[in-house]
């Protein structure tokens, strides 16, 4: 659900087909009969934006039919924990959880807590019968998601729902496992995070997390969107998912106090208790010798967000539209086509004083001033368009959807005068720094003191060319002094000054180690006295037989292939499925690290501690969670501890069949409302002018906004222009023939597209009315092909609205009209 790997991650589908050859069953739930659906054992059509209803019904089915994996659920999740008596759910409060404030559109989470015993640990009922335990609350919450209701909301026939629920629910046995592959079909909704959580709850109920062949798998959309996220190219995170500091965290200690979770659970590893080591080592990587204990390791050099400030995409372009930025870098991205509500973005670009666009081609962003509706003479934005090198014209690593970082090599010199991104960054670093050194300016210290030791310098002091290996080593981290383990006598040497660190367990919080990104610590390290770039490894051995290939490149963390893998074993450390052991505790084998008997075999375990049955040293499997168990109850989210169905911002229904008062997610930030807002941000729900549910998607032959693929003649020939898929029934109603040019319009704009009349879409029965769904790919733009024959971006149609947790725009469910051109 929420993805179409056959079209968008085609080579991943090769392995799905292989699994099918071995007897696996594939279920596809999608508004459209996709290429993936064509190969599925079960296909269910669904109304776009109703995944939580669909999955809520599955949770109910699993619980009602006793299909859950009881031992896993009781021991490895929070199911037995008792919740605060004052916590209330949407069934009791007409669509809301307790603590909602209408004015701020936010929840006060005071009641979203556990009842604690005298030790400060959650009270629990391992029989799962206490009406206040998480399991019973989950059961109660989803008791409202009956087959009739779910079918009426999603449009999926009841018998199809049962078929899917029964088949997927069958993976709740120790020797069966199910996996979920999702993509933007789940994230691009105003309930995106909760879509994923709903499925995560199912995976936990069925014991499918941490298992080989299980998990929640995000099929990420870019070759290195995983890596660039790991490296904190987002407003809210620094590298390694350390949160961006906020204003009230006035010093490093305050930052550490806020972001280092504490636990009273003795069996919890609580891995993030290591946060002080990671943030301090990061600051040491940035500021080297300048970062000392006495100056708080230069913590004041890091820019701070105001409390509550959200600098994410939609807000960024909203601020730009309102003239709040002078300068803008669009570096390897084409926001004029890629973001929701593209017309607003394009207008926003015209309010900049200057813009830098780095790309392989001229594109709709670089050349926005020549775009539709623009008068270049009126636009005062200065634009610098810089040509960068292609992926095979430089050297470095990228991280795929499985956290696998692979090295790639330089095959040829960059085309023409194009430069690798690293070299452009190096030039700008040096030139801005030189200006501050010569002329002074506002707070120059963070710029002047930044470490930049990446190779030989020229006579002006500029690094001639970035040695990418030096960068990779800085990321991995160094021992800055000889480090000893003082817990043993005599103290044992862990690492020598100047050596590369062999893994993040050896990082220190006192400034004696540096590390640019703790997740990648150990990727470029000393192994048996030699420096090894593990990202470049090409070993093909597969000792577990599960396809883990531990010596092909390197995965974070610590080359662990399946995270939470200690949940794949029972409390004694034996695999749930003895025929497919991912991990197994061998009580007699001597552990070379401790010199004592007992060690894990198989994948790199989630920590060396013995299994849970060891009363003294046993640890719970969910090492990143302070309580050591997985969360069925998720109080961390903005919109509720359990997923609840809300309608998309624009939908065909007047009210939410689950709760009359709250049609849409009550916590989303509305850019446009009765009280006001920009006309650009208008939305129209249940409006006769825009009667069809629409979704954007991708085709195999194009990628993202199509800048790379539209300029690739072979691919453009295969998919030359924007099309809109419509059902035969809708086509007949509108007198549209296959191949006709049509106008697709929403409250925000319109584009032309070629009608693709197809059986892949069918009218769907929702709340007793017939709903038509349509869809179109978003890869096109006015700039290329130059004759305009490709059409323009489908994002001209999409609304300015985001998920309350992530602010990812809702591009998968909005309302349009279609007319013959």
């Amino acid at each position: 659900m929420g993805g179409n790997p056959a079209a968008n991650h085609p080579v991943s589908f090769k392995w799905i087909m292989k699994a099918k050859e071995r007897g696996a069953k594939m279920i596809v739930v999608d508004p459209r009969f996709t290429q993936s659906a064509a190969k599925a054992d079960v296909y269910a059509q669904i109304r776009s934006g109703t995944d939580i209803a669909f999955l809520g019904g599955m949770i109910k089915y699993i619980i009602d039919n006793n299909l859950y994996f009881r031992e896993y659920v009781v021991n490895y999740t929070d199911a037995p924990f008792l919740v605060n008596d004052d916590f209330k759910m949407p069934g009791e409060l007409d669509g809301l959880f307790s603590g909602y404030d209408e004015k701020t559109r936010k929840y006060d989470k005071a009641t979203w807590t556990f009842q604690l015993d005298e030790k400060g640990l959650p009270k629990r009922d391992n029989t799962l019968k206490d009406p206040r335990c998480v399991f019973q609350l989950l059961k109660k919450h989803y008791s409202r998601y009956t087959l009739d209701k779910v079918s009426a909301v999603t449009g999926t026939p009841k018998e199809k729902l049962i078929e899917v629920y029964k088949l997927y629910g069958s993976t709740g046995k120790p020797n069966r496992v199910g996996t979920e592959l999702y993509a933007m079909g789940w994230t691009q909704h105003t309930v995106g995070t909760q879509n994923i959580r709903a499925m995560a709850i199912i995976q936990l109920l069925l014991g499918n997390i941490g298992m080989p062949g299980g998990g929640m798998n995000a099929l990420r959309g870019e070759s290195n969107v995983q890596g660039s996220t790991d490296y904190g190219l987002l407003f809210h995170i620094l590298p390694g998912y350390n949160p961006t500091p906020t204003a009230s965290l006035v010093n490093l200690q305050a930052y550490i106090d806020k972001f280092t979770p504490k636990t009273k659970e003795p069996r919890s590893v609580n891995w993030l208790s290591n946060r002080p080591k990671y943030i301090t080592s990061y600051l040491k990587a940035l500021y080297g010798d300048k970062a000392t204990k006495s100056n708080d390791f230069c913590y004041s050099y890091l820019p701070k967000l105001d409390e509550g400030m959200n600098a994410s995409w939609l807000n960024l372009f909203d601020s730009m539209y309102k003239g709040k930025f002078e300068g803008f870098f669009a570096w390897g991205q084409n926001p004029a086509c890629s973001g929701a509500n593209a017309n607003k973005t394009r207008k926003a670009l015209a309010r900049l004083k200057w813009m830098v666009n780095v790309n392989l081609w001229e594109n709709e962003t670089s050349t926005f001033w020549k775009g539709p509706g623009m008068d270049p003479k009126e636009i005062q934005t200065e634009v610098f368009l810089l040509p960068c090198a292609a992926s095979f014209e430089k050297e470095g690593s990228i991280t795929n959807s499985s956290r696998l970082a692979q090295w790639r090599y330089k095959a040829v010199e960059p085309l023409g005068k194009a430069m690798p991104d690293a070299e452009i960054i190096n030039e700008l670093y040096f030139r801005v720094k030189r200006l501050y050194q010569k002329e002074g300016g506002k707070f120059p210290e963070p710029i002047i003191h930044l470490t930049w030791n990446y190779g030989e310098k020229d006579k002006d002091g500029k690094i001639k060319h970035i040695d990418i290996h030096a960068v990779a080593k800085e990321i991995n981290g160094y021992y800055l002094e000889d480090i000893y383990d003082t817990k043993v006598t005599p103290p044992k040497l862990i690492g020598k000054e100047g050596e590369l660190i062999n893994g993040f367990p050896n990082l220190q919080a006192d400034g004696t180690t540096s590390c640019g990104n703790w997740l990648y610590c150990g990727s470029y390290a000393h192994v048996d006295g030699k420096v090894v770039n593990k990202l470049a490894k090409r070993g093909k051995d597969d000792p577990t037989g599960l396809g883990l290939y531990p010596n092909w490149a390197w995965s974070w963390p610590l080359n662990r292939k399946i995270i939470y893998n200690r949940a794949s074993v029972d409390q004694k450390g034996n695999p749930w499925d003895p025929n497919r052991p991912l991990l197994k505790w061998n009580p007699t084998k001597e552990n070379p690290a401790t010199g004592k008997p007992g060690m894990w075999e198989g994948d790199v375990p989630d920590g060396p501690a013995p299994p849970l049955a060891d009363e003294k040293a046993g640890k719970l499997p969910f090492i990143m969670k302070p309580l050591g168990v997985a969360s069925l109850f998720g109080p961390g989210l903005a919109d509720g501890p359990f997923p609840e169905h809300y309608e998309p911002l624009e939908c065909p229904l007047q009210e939410n069949p689950f709760s009359k008062k709250h049609r849409i997610n009550p916590t989303i930030k509305l850019f446009y409302s009765k009280e006001g807002g920009l006309p650009e941000d208008i939305f129209l729900s249940c409006d006769v002018r825009y009667p069809y549910v629409c979704s954007t998607y991708r085709v195999t032959e194009h990628w993202q906004t199509g800048v790379m693929t539209r300029h690739t003649p072979w691919l453009l020939e295969l998919q030359p222009q924007v099309f809109v898929e419509i059902s035969r029934e809708l086509a007949a109603e509108k007198n549209i023939k296959n191949g006709d040019k049509v106008i697709v319009s929403s409250a925000r704009g319109k584009i032309w597209a070629i009608a693709n009349v197809t059986d892949r879409l069918k009218p769907i029965k929702v709340m007793n009315s017939t709903i038509h769904q349509v869809g179109l790919p978003y890869h096109y733009g006015w700039k290329f092909p130059v004759d305009g024959s490709g059409g323009d971006s489908a994002n001209i149609l999409t609304p300015t609205i985001g998920d309350p947790n992530t602010m990812i725009p809702e591009s998968k469910a909005f309302m349009v009209n279609i007319e013959k051109a």
Binding site: S223, L234, G332, A390, E701
Partner: protein, 203 residues
């Protein structure tokens, strides 16, 4: 005969075995009768596909500094030599008539691009970064926070805090850069004081 590639490999594999017992022509002779491969004598370099996130390995064949062929890397356990249409068209990213070959500049109100030198463009950008940063830099800013009052109740108050940030520049991209470049990028942007930093993961 209608042969799939797999069948073809089976048959040729079979031929090689047969030849050892003298029942068929030497495998070498069969090789010699085929056309010389374009990649003969070319340098082979491995890369990872720049498109989706599966991480397929691709071999790039080069001769005289030019890419002459790209194909799936059979060694990779991820793709075992196979590629989708996008990955298979990598050759055209190297040999592409539309790619930018030099920096371009568009002045305020101009109707066309002007080709410029790197040195000039980079200096100009550095000047603008500094000017905007100096103009819009905030050493402190007011935030609303909750504090415990004398009666123990939490009250919302406004307080001024050190923020040391540049509010006048935003940055988006790039999820297609290498990890090491991403690291350098975030390092540079944060040293300038930027917080409006976003990329493809958000959309």
């Amino acid at each position: 005969m209608d042969l799939s590639r797999r069948d073809f490999l089976k048959i040729t594999g079979g031929t090689a075995i047969a030849s050892t017992v003298g029942l068929a022509v030497e495998a070498r002779e069969a090789d010699a009768s085929t056309t010389t491969l374009r990649t003969k004598g070319a340098k082979a370099t491995t890369t990872i596909c720049p498109y989706c996130s599966v991480g397929c390995s691709i071999i790039v064949h080069t001769k005289d500094g030019k890419v002459i062929n790209t194909e799936g890397d059979p060694e990779s356990p991820i793709n075992e030599g196979t590629l989708c249409p996008k990955g298979a068209s990598l050759y055209e990213l190297a040999n592409n008539p539309y790619r930018l070959k030099a920096p371009l500049y568009r002045a305020p109100g101009a109707t066309e691009w002007k080709e410029v030198e790197w040195d000039w463009a980079l200096d100009q950008i550095a000047r603008r970064v500094k000017a905007t940063r100096d103009k819009t830099f905030k050493a402190t800013a007011i935030s609303k926070i909750k504090e415990k009052g004398p009666d123990g109740k939490e009250v919302e108050t406004e307080k001024e805090f050190v923020v040391n940030r540049c509010d006048g520049i935003a940055h988006v991209g790039s999820a297609a850069m290498d990890n090491e470049e991403c690291y350098l990028m975030q390092k540079l942007l944060r040293s300038w004081g930027l917080v409006w930093i976003e990329h493809q993961a958000r959309i």
